[in-house]
């Protein structure tokens, strides 16, 4: 069984009283452009791949959000990025020795952009502290996954985050917070594949639960910049359970899989200081193989926004994949400097210029990689 969140959304829309426009209608258009120059150095790679340099990390986003009706909200986030997907366009079998058999395949591929639609959800908010959302959105698992793309300390989320949960998914989510955001609860059902119905050989539901405890009240998940909030901190935990059936290429059930993921987090912010640490684990097993797959990871990051607009930032991350059969350890070390350029005579959002280094040590595979990027983040 799969969830069809759009159908659910449509159903809710149909039963809502009155479909005429009213004073609650609003539309807010925001977005950002983030040109970035990035380079990567892999000493072990073949010469052609050893040093790469380009604008592939550049991104731009456009958000449309507002209220279409009393208690109903919508949010669309379009996302353009230099990240591309290699798409095979041509494949020709080659008989190199004229024996009638194909020895090699000549292929030609091209780059295609992906992730055009990042978020698209409709929300129903019957009260100030309860909301339900349906559509494509972030799964409420780690704390960092819920931060806005423009509010990250580094150009991207911590690499351990991406190992355990990547991208967005289709589903429904209930959010509750009380009192004053001291406790936040999020519970949702998602497809678990990040894809639409019938696009995968997996059939199941992903159950997600996230609890946050903020003793001094709710605060933004933004990780950077000058925050007006007084000193606040929060603890959090997330759990994902994704039982699904894996079907073979003929369409018959092959095995039942249980995929469990858990995370804990601690974050703190105040007076320009930002700190976040998260630990994440994954354990996947099935009914056939007696071969559980496990991974563990953690990261910590901190930054300090100074009055000059400068913000030095640091992050360290670690992941061990395939822990139950062939552990593969990966470490990341990152450091950088963000510079906020304000126009003191206006209320316009500041421009952020970032200069960052990222090192990746694939300890088990004995490979070290270096990366550097410079970006300018312009919000509108």
């Amino acid at each position: 069984m799969k969830i069809s969140p759009m159908l659910l959304t449509a159903a809710f829309l149909n039963i809502s009283p009155g479909s005429h426009a009213n004073a609650a209608e609003s539309l807010e258009v925001t977005g950002y452009v983030k040109p970035a120059i990035a380079s990567r150095y892999l000493p072990e790679a073949v010469p052609a791949d050893r040093l790469t340099f380009g604008l592939e990390e550049s991104k731009a986003g456009l958000r449309l959000a507002g209220e279409s009706h009393s208690n109903w909200q919508y949010h669309i986030y379009l996302y353009l990025t230099g990240e591309s997907l290699k798409v095979l366009t041509h494949a020709i079998g080659l008989d190199t020795d004229n024996d009638g058999d194909t020895e090699k395949v000549f292929t030609r591929s091209t780059s295609a952009s992906r992730n055009l639609l990042r978020d698209a959800w409709a929300g129903w908010k019957p009260s100030g502290n309860f909301q339900m959302k349906f559509g494509r959105m972030a799964v409420p698992f780690t704390s960092q996954a819920q931060a806005n793309d423009t509010e990250l300390m580094f150009p991207d989320r911590a690499s351990p985050n991406a190992v355990f949960l990547h991208g967005r998914d289709l589903g429904g989510l209930a959010q509750f917070d009380a009192p004053a955001g001291i406790i936040e609860v999020q519970a949702g059902l998602f497809n678990g594949t990040g894809q639409g119905l019938g696009a995968s050989t997996e059939e199941g539901i992903l159950y997600a639960l996230r609890l946050d405890f903020n003793p001094r009240g709710a605060f933004s998940r933004g990780e950077t910049g000058q925050k007006k909030d007084s000193f606040k901190y929060g603890f959090g935990a997330g759990l994902i359970a994704n039982p699904y059936t894996l079907y073979d290429s003929a369409g018959y059930p092959a095995t039942g899989v249980i995929d469990l993921r858990a995370t804990t987090s601690f974050r703190m912010t105040g007076n320009g200081f930002h700190f976040l640490t998260e630990a994440i684990g994954r354990y996947k097993t099935d009914t056939m193989r007696s071969r559980p797959e496990a991974a563990l990871g953690a990261f910590g990051q901190t930054g300090w926004y100074m009055k000059s607009g400068l913000e030095p930032v640091f992050r360290f991350g670690w992941v061990v994949e395939d822990y139950t059969f062939s552990p593969r350890h990966i470490y990341w070390g990152e450091a950088g400097l963000n510079l906020y350029v304000h126009d003191s005579y206006s209320d316009q959002k500041p421009i952020r210029i970032g200069l960052h280094y990222m090192g990746e040590l694939r300890f088990t595979e004995r490979e070290l990689g270096h990366g550097a990027s410079m970006q300018a983040l312009v919000n509108f």
């Binding site: 073979d248 290429s249 018959y252 469990l260 354990y283 097993t285 007696s290 139950t324 490979e367």
Partner: protein, 402 residues
């Protein structure tokens, strides 16, 4: 942070389905194969994604065949591919979703996702002559930038042997150097081994140089740079590929190889020798910290630990193989994965399919999990035109260190 990681780990693994010592997992029936147990089959290996690779073949035959079991279920007969006089040597490496098999003079790349095969660099791209892969390290070093192994290669048109770094994906030879001493003749490869923990590759060779017969262990690193030469003092003049399976290392400088005549070739950092232990040496077992020579003493499975100075400790009982053997009781429930959909049925007869007992093999045991390995079982058979045709299934078996 460590505490948080520990809490998460304990919570997630509370219902762990791993196998205990001698326990058998689900049997996955994948094919009907010529022969009677023990069969002409190598211990299976798995890639990181969980695809399973099974090689049918023998040291003296040229009918090597590979099966692939997909991690999501279902099996495929991938290919029949072989070149050269000698038979199958063994799997030399695995990646996320592929494996490489060295058979005869050929290296075969097997893709787990598609279940197809391709011979790696069969011709010299410059001269076009056929290449003989005389020695291949049983380790493909995998990283985001590379999938390489170290090998000794010879072109059929000439009598020179080269040590090369072979890129398994791009099918390129780099770091090419002539095998020294220059002028050596009658090169015989006794066996190969590799230990990724210490970045060492062993080629045990025998050759004639200036009228002298020399036996040596050549230790290379994973970039094909020679680290040292170890003189072997061998009483028995060895045949080519005398070592069954591969040499294996204890991680502390000692290596062991099981010879086809029941003896052992043992090496430390400075010297090597051959010996015949007090028991029937039939296999090797590498754990995280040690290397054991395994075999039979009477009908009891035993293991003897190899010391860093290449001395062999006394044999002691290792009961994991016997525990696994005792569980081979018909009728045995199996999953027939030969075709879709998978069906659950049972075998009326069941035997160990490889060697004398489960878990005893001169080939490196695959890390199916940290304490289990993949193995093969033989089920019901029928009489074929030349020999019996036997049902074969894959099964993971739990084990404990001796």
């Amino acid at each position: 942070m460590r505490f948080a990681v520990l809490i998460i780990w304990l919570g997630l693994t509370a219902c762990s389905p791993t196998l205990d010592d001698g326990d058998l997992g689900n049997v996955r029936y994948f094919g009907l194969i010529p022969g009677e147990a023990p069969m002409r089959l190598l211990p299976p290996v798995t890639d990181r994604n969980g695809n399973i690779y099974v090689a049918y073949g023998d040291r003296s035959r040229s009918d090597t065949e590979v099966w692939v079991g997909r991690h999501s279920g279902g099996w495929k007969s991938a290919c029949k591919l072989h070149r050269g006089d000698f038979g199958v040597h063994g799997f030399v490496g695995m990646s996320d979703n592929d494996a490489w098999l060295w058979t005869g003079d050929a290296i075969v790349h097997v893709w787990g996702d598609s279940g197809t095969c391709h011979e790696v660099l069969d011709n010299d791209p410059v001269t076009g002559t056929l290449l003989k892969w005389k020695a291949v390290a049983p380790w493909v070093r995998i990283s985001p930038s590379r999938a390489t192994t170290v090998a000794i290669v010879r072109a059929t048109a000439e009598d020179e042997n080269y040590v090369v770094l072979l890129d398994m994906q791009r099918e390129l030879m780099t770091n090419l150097s002539r095998l020294t001493p220059v002028g050596l003749t009658d090169l015989k490869i006794l066996g190969t081994g590799a230990d990724e923990r210490i970045d060492e590759i062993l080629f045990a060779v025998s050759y004639n140089w200036e009228g002298q017969q020399i036996h040596e262990g050549l230790i290379f690193d994973s970039n094909a740079a020679l680290k040292r030469r170890v003189t072997l003092d061998l009483d028995v003049s060895p045949d080519e590929y005398a070592v069954l399976g591969f040499f294996q290392s204890n991680g502390g400088g000692a290596w062991a190889g099981v010879r086809d005549d029941g003896g052992l070739i043992l090496l430390n950092e400075n010297s090597g020798y051959d010996t015949t232990p007090e028991f029937d040496a039939l296999g090797l077992l590498r754990t995280d910290t040690s290397l054991f020579v395994t075999g039979l003493l009477g009908s009891t499975s035993v293991a003897a630990k190899l010391a860093n100075n290449s001395g062999l400790n006394g044999a002691r009982e290792w009961d994991s193989p016997m525990k696994a053997q005792s569980k081979l009781q018909p009728p045995m429930t199996i999953y027939d994965e030969r075709n879709s959909p998978v069906t659950k049925t049972s075998w009326s007869t069941v035997k160990n399919a490889i060697n004398v007992l489960p878990l005893i093999s001169p080939y490196p045991l695959d890390r199916y999990t940290t304490q289990s390995t993949g193995w093969l079982l033989a089920g019901p058979a029928y009489a074929g035109p030349a020999e019996d045709i036997t049902s074969v299934g894959f099964v993971p078996i739990g084990w404990e260190s001796p």
